[in-house]
Point group: C2
DNA sequence: GCAAATAGTTTACGCGCGATAAATTTTAGT
DNA sequence: ACTAAAATTTATCGCGCGTAAACTATTTGC
């Protein structure tokens, strides 16, 4: 690093011995200049530690390198984890990701989308809140900005949808539970916040019908995103009122299951597959925490890597001009057998 | 919203009947213009949905309204939670926060700081990785950008430090454990990733000495940020080798405790305060998940609200020109008594 | 009602870069 | 070595806004 401070691209071009337009071109796409000039420029960057002014760059660029990543709730490790993977893919592809959380609030989701417009993103990876979302606001945003929906689908919005096959999720784990013990009942929120909950319930009903078994859905009270507490309180109620018709409980998601396990503990109900256990509990999502519950939670896990890769690749393809009709990609989950069921 | 599209501030000033410089002044600080003109401008904003171009705005502004928030690991709910609170304070104070995670990697932390320079932030709220951090890079960054350190302190860097009083944390919970049963041993990582771990160990040693009791530190193997797994594996080893000299285990942090509880479950060791329990386990942090372990985890909780408020207020004060000597604010934690100890 | 203080307007310029066209140089292909 | 293609240079414009100075209009205090 030299002592001389480079004020702008003009000065930088001078010291690197390359004209400014070519330097500009380099920063837009390093591959677009000759190897010899690239070497000169990169030597100068190394020497003077120059970086073009982001604001001046993006002001007149037709397309920025910005990518927005929006998740419903960043304090949920599931979303934090998938956001992390998406962020990495963006950086590797030469984009500049910015992370946003809707904080579980539709109004805030709309605010986030508006903030997002301000940075004129080349594309957005959006996991919407689902039915709670302001559908009109989403629609308007998708009309203006290339947006790829992931995790939960809302109509046929945006470029495409990439997520998990929730139907397969529930069918698969229901199948497992039926084959290894009593058929499961389904534990969920009466008014699910989680956007995929309805699909999972339906899949449970279908799977049970296929087995010729009577389905039982236990819908517990509670609103918002505090799933563990909702699961815990709902579990207490359900045990007290004898709402579980079988010894096997399939939860709509892992966070509800985690809360339910706490309720089991507090009620003195032994959970697991052993002969001395009273109930089996299973979740769905492959939540980072599911390994560490007591007992460890049997669940069906999202294909985190595959989903995030497919989602980001699809967005980058669209940004690069590849036009494809709207499509929905749903990846299968992997059953994770642990001690809880 | 009218049909006519406003292309820039010039046009917007025209339709609102106010000169462009005054409009510019309004967007810089709405309070700086007369009430009557503010009303005119806001009516026009409502009507035409105009927003100034972010990039053009920030290009020549002496100071942007950007604030960077950096945490070591966003997939850790503790950091996600405090980041969420900081974000809210920034928005309320009229700033534009952007969230970054170091992903537990010093090299990435340095990258994040460099990206941060590009957005020319008015200030940064930084929770460094701690001893793993590239100290030189931090120092250079703090010299250029008003930076407030939180969660973990590194030298006397930046404007100030705001965080929890880890000494008090460990002293307080050690005191509680000593008074209610056998004195605790201390369960930690041999090479702690968590920056506050050393302070906590020292505080444990001091507290035990004050009680006139022999301290016992169990340092387990493991690197990185996968604390639960490290706690679980370390727990297995410690139980197998009979490393716990007393029936009470104080963990360096809640995530280690969560892993240890899983180990206890897997070993068939009953945890809790009851007469039929073998060990007591306590954590430190007030981790969002600690309520839902089995048994629920006794811990000492950060004053999340107070820390985030104090940190953001201190940064805003500095941005607004208030000069104060470097200071360290350490807030006390609150003991949360649950069934595990 | 007057002068001083405050707020707003006009005019003018600059920021750092993107984009483009035309002229020139370099490279690749035969 | 010759030509076509590709890369680079030169020159120029514009983006949308910040900022400053000088001037004018409005408000405020007495």
């Amino acid at each position: 690093m030299s002592s001389k401070t480079i004020r702008n691209m003009e000065e930088f071009a001078a010291v690197s011995g390359i004209s400014r337009p070519t330097v500009s071109k380099y920063f837009h796409d390093p591959e677009s200049v000759r190897v010899s000039t690239r070497a000169k420029i990169e030597a100068a960057i190394e020497k003077y530690d120059y970086r073009p002014n982001l604001y001046a760059m993006n002001q007149n660029r037709k397309l920025t390198k910005n990518v927005g990543i929006v998740v419903p709730l960043l304090t949920d490790p599931y979303f934090a984890e998938i956001a992390r993977k998406l962020e990495r893919h963006c950086i590797e592809a030469g984009y500049h990701p910015t992370l946003f959380s809707s904080h579980g609030d539709p109004a805030h989701e709309t605010d986030v989308l508006n903030s997002l417009r301000a940075i004129r993103p080349a594309g957005v990876l959006l996991a919407p809140l689902g039915r709670a979302s302001d559908h009109g606001a989403l629609e308007r945003f998708c009309a203006d900005v290339p947006t790829l929906l992931f995790d939960s689908n809302v109509g046929e919005l945006g470029l495409a949808f990439v997520g998990s096959d929730n139907i397969q999720f529930t069918a698969h784990i229901t199948d497992y539970l039926c084959r290894t013990g009593e058929p499961p009942c389904f534990f969920e929120m009466k008014r699910p916040t989680n956007p995929n909950a309805h699909r999972r319930r339906q899949s449970y009903l279908d799977a049970m019908q296929e087995f010729g078994l009577e389905p039982h859905v236990i819908s517990v009270e509670g609103d918002g995103w505090d799933f563990e507490e909702i699961g815990r309180l709902g579990g207490h109620t359900a045990f007290s009122e004898g709402l579980f018709p079988t010894n096997t409980i399939l939860c709509s998601n892992d966070r509800l299951a985690i809360g339910l396990l706490t309720a089991c503990y507090e009620k003195g109900v032994a959970v697991g597959r052993g002969p001395d256990c009273t109930v089996r509990v299973a979740g769905q999502d492959g939540h980072p925490h599911s390994r560490y519950t007591c007992p460890p939670l049997t669940t069906i896990s999202h294909a985190y890597d595959a989903v995030s890769k497919a989602a980001s690749d699809a967005l980058f393809a669209a940004i690069n001009g590849q036009v494809t009709p709207w499509s929905s990609t749903r990846l299968e989950g992997r059953l994770i057998l642990r001690d809880s069921a």
